[in-house]
């Protein structure tokens, strides 16, 4: 992640929004990102309103959805082809990986 602290990357790279040292507004935005990633069909007006209330504009919310969907697209293709990290950064193991070792 360009221009971001390791602690934020480390937490977000394993899907841990609560541990990432980010602002409340960013955490609220990532809540919507999680809903759209895990079960977009459940996105409700309240989910979007919470992000507006956190100070994000309508255009920023829309763009956040585009980026979320863009990376779902890349994730699916990368996983289908079976490619792994090219060493851009060492991603810490996912919790269940450490648990199963």
């Amino acid at each position: 992640m360009q221009g971001e602290t390791d602690a934020v990357v480390e937490a977000l790279a394993i899907g841990n929004r609560d541990q990432a040292p980010i602002t409340g507004a960013e955490r609220t935005l990532l809540q919507l990102v999680e809903t759209v990633t895990r079960h977009a069909y459940r996105t409700a007006e309240a989910d979007v309103q919470a992000v507006r209330d956190a100070g994000w504009t309508e255009e920023q919310i829309a763009e956040a959805v585009y980026v979320t969907a863009l990376f779902a697209f890349f994730n699916r293709v990368a996983d289908a082809f079976g490619i792994v990290n090219e060493g851009y950064r060492q991603i810490p193991p996912f919790p269940e990986e450490t648990a199963s070792r």
């Binding site: 360009q2 971001e4 990532l30 999680e34 990633t37 763009e63 956040a64 890349f74 082809f81 079976g82």
Partner: protein
């Protein structure tokens, strides 16, 4: 070098349109290789060009959201999807 589950064309094997798109990418990115994620699209060079273009348009630039927030979203989504790439 990872051997992909589905065949892709490597830089040195690329010919025709694919070679053009690979070279355009490397020149534009200032790199001497094509990232694996992009080689996944080597079966369709026309689509690969569009993928690099819309990625640049949407992600690799400030828009309504600062680049930093977009990178956070990208990292978080990949984490949620348990995608190691």
């Amino acid at each position: 070098m990872t051997k992909p589950r589905i065949h892709w064309v490597n830089e040195d094997e690329a010919a025709g349109d694919l070679r053009v798109v690979y070279e355009e990418y490397m020149r534009h990115a200032g790199r001497d290789f094509v990232p694996q994620i992009l080689k996944c699209f080597s079966a369709r060079p026309d689509f690969l060009r569009q993928v690099t273009e819309f990625s640049a348009t949407l992600h690799f630039s400030d828009g309504h959201l600062p680049r930093r927030v977009k990178e956070m979203i990208a990292t978080y989504v990949s984490g949620l999807n348990r995608c190691p790439y």
